[in-house]
């Protein structure tokens, strides 16, 4: 019997572990593989963090190097998280994949490869990008066309010679499209809803702006449409030494061509939505709205000499983007699905999952006593899914968890559940 089990030793689980330790709560962190497992096994080689070095602030830990504005490579990201686990002496049990969690007499029974644990509180920090979310149309891909979810993509050499269709225009899709087009492939990109974002604005990184202006701290109980906020596509950002902006215009400049959202496949022909222009118009309007907000904030601050406000050139869309493409005729040999992810809760045998496969929770306080969730998009604030967002969420949820344990300490007494930090 242990107070608390944390599932997952990524940045979110480790941040929670640190906060639990600070409160003297006895716990273990069960990790299916090694610390920072997803970063080690489910990312492409050239990926760099989309947030600058300074921004990865974890409880009791942060960046101390000489390049605060740089972007970590994957090995650097992994080392950062491993160093954090060591620095906080997190009680991680590696290679302890959880196969089943059940409720048992007001406790949670956690079955793992390293044995069974009975705990009073449980924190799910197993990530929100466990499985690729492929659209149903993926099943209709013509024979001979390779189907590659973005989480299985590593480098251009693993993609067959020939054309590539990248489905999805958010952070993963745009970066993979760039890399493949630069490697000499003809990339076609199917573009649905997306949000473009300049890497830098008025001389500062966009993340600096959003952090300082409080955009990243917007709370889940303040945002107008939470469901929408939680499914919002990731900003088209990339981390590079040149601090380059990777939007559709940048991709168009190197020869990537655009079609609308992949709507269907009939035989060897892909059918694309005629909504491309509106998708781009929405993206232009959204970024301008954000930049207006940031300018307004800047006016109210004493920020010294900033370059004047400016707006990006509107997204250039051809007059007549193709609606049909024959994979054979176009020589498209591979499709990369950059269509998002979904969490895997197949091991969670509790009545807390809604019909859409999401956990029922209020800001990470799951709809079951003593059960908590970490590391999801807009869990408690806009930054919740970022490394930088784990700290505030862990501080608040660990406070809630502590008060739950106190209430649950008396057998049979109703658990005291208050929104901590609210």
């Amino acid at each position: 019997m242990i107070d608390t089990v944390v599932i997952g030793a990524g940045h979110a689980g480790l941040a929670m572990s640190k906060c639990l330790a600070d409160r003297g709560i006895d716990h273990v962190v069960l990790e299916r593989g090694e610390v920072a497992n997803s970063w080690k096994t489910e990312r492409w080689d050239s990926l760099r963090l989309l947030t600058p070095n300074w921004q990865s602030r974890l409880p009791g830990y942060g960046y101390t190097g000489s390049d605060p504005d740089g972007f970590r490579t994957m090995p650097e990201t992994i080392a950062f998280i491993e160093d954090y686990a060591r620095a906080i002496s997190a009680p991680v049990i590696v290679d302890a994949e959880v196969s089943c969690v059940r409720a048992e007499d007001g406790r949670y029974h956690v079955r793992s490869r390293k044995g069974d644990f009975l705990c009073r509180a449980l924190v799910i920090a197993s990530g929100h990008c466990n499985l690729p979310r492929l659209p149903p149309v993926a099943e209709a891909l013509p024979a001979g066309v390779a189907s590659v979810p973005s989480m299985h993509y590593r480098r251009p050499e693993m993609i067959d010679e020939g054309g590539v269709l990248v489905v999805g225009a958010s952070a993963s899709g745009t970066q993979i499209a760039w890399e493949l087009q630069m490697a000499g492939r003809q990339v076609t990109m199917a573009v649905g809803e997306h949000v473009r974002a300049p890497r830098t604005y008025r001389g500062r990184d966009l993340q600096w702006w959003m952090d300082r202006a409080g955009v990243m701290d917007e709370r889940y109980d303040e945002v107008e449409d939470l469901v929408r906020a939680r499914t919002h596509p990731s900003l088209q950002l990339t981390g590079s030494d040149q601090r380059m902006t990777l939007d559709l215009n940048a991709l168009g400049d190197i020869g990537v061509r655009f079609v609308g959202r992949l709507a269907g496949i009939a035989g060897t022909t892909g059918q694309f939505s005629g909504s491309l222009r509106n998708m781009c118009a929405l993206s232009d309007l959204k970024i301008n709205r954000l930049l207006n907000e940031l300018d307004e904030w800047a006016e109210s601050q004493d920020l010294g000499d900033l370059p004047p406000p400016h707006r990006p050139e509107s997204t250039r869309v051809g007059d007549d983007p193709p609606l049909l493409l024959d994979f054979e005729r176009e020589g498209i040999k591979s499709v990369i699905w950059a269509t998002g992810f979904r969490p895997d809760y197949s091991w969670l045998k509790l009545d807390v999952i809604d019909p859409k496969g999401r956990l029922r929770h209020d800001g990470g306080v799951v709809d079951a006593p003593g059960l908590y969730l970490m590391g999801q998009q807009f869990l408690r604030r806009r930054k919740s899914a970022l490394i930088d967002g784990a700290g505030d969420d862990a501080r608040e949820l660990s406070a809630h968890l502590a008060s739950y344990l106190k209430g649950a300490a008396a057998p049979g007494a109703p658990a005291l559940i208050e929104a901590a930090g609210a």
């Binding site: 269907g264 005629g274 929405l282 309007l285």
Partner: protein, 187 residues
């Protein structure tokens, strides 16, 4: 989301009812399954009359307040009697009215008072397709253009955002821009 209702903006849209419906249908998705119907009867030549009356939704049969009729025909340049708009024009009618309803509803939700909204919808068509002259020519529109002329108490960008959001939520825009399986049977 309910705070936006306490204003003087009135576009004649009951957004509170729409928001309530959205909430109700989120918890009862089966009630959201609608079935829209029309009955088309051939009159003479290319003239037909279509009636719209009943539909299914909210778990039961529903009915419009009255039976709506739509005459469709072709103009005299096609040697027809021109007793109604062409079916292809009715598609433009559907798109324009769908997008415009969306503009009004979204404007109400966003507290924007509309003064005037006019959409001009045009579709280009090469009739060699429907006449069977050239099998490489598509039957349908080779493109549809919608131009909005909107006067409202809002910035130019906010007005553009209304039109963009309306496209995003429009049934007819979706029907026209994405493929749909059409199954036709005969007695």
């Amino acid at each position: 989301m309910t705070t936006t209702q306490q204003t003087d903006v009135n576009n004649g849209v009951n957004t509170q009812a729409l928001l309530d419906a959205r909430e109700a249908l989120t918890s009862a998705p089966e009630a959201a399954i609608f079935n829209w119907r029309a009955t088309c009867t051939w009159k003479n030549g290319t003239h037909s009359r279509t009636e719209v009356k009943g539909f299914f939704g909210l778990g039961e049969e529903q009915s419009h307040k009255t039976t709506f009729t739509f005459d469709a025909d072709h103009p005299e340049v096609f040697a027809s009697e021109d007793k109604g708009a062409t079916p292809a024009e009715l598609v433009l009618v559907a798109l324009g009215s769908c997008l415009t309803a969306g503009v009004a509803a979204i404007a109400q939700h966003r507290d924007i008072q509309l003064r005037k909204v006019t959409a001009t919808i045009e579709g280009g068509m090469d009739v060699r397709g429907i006449l069977g002259i050239d099998s490489d020519v598509r039957n349908g529109y080779n493109g549809i253009k919608v131009h909005y002329d909107i006067e409202a108490d809002a910035s130019a960008d906010d007005i553009k955002a209304l039109v963009a959001q309306s496209q995003k939520r429009s049934a007819v825009f979706d029907i026209l821009t994405n493929p749909t399986n059409v199954t036709v049977s005969v007695n």
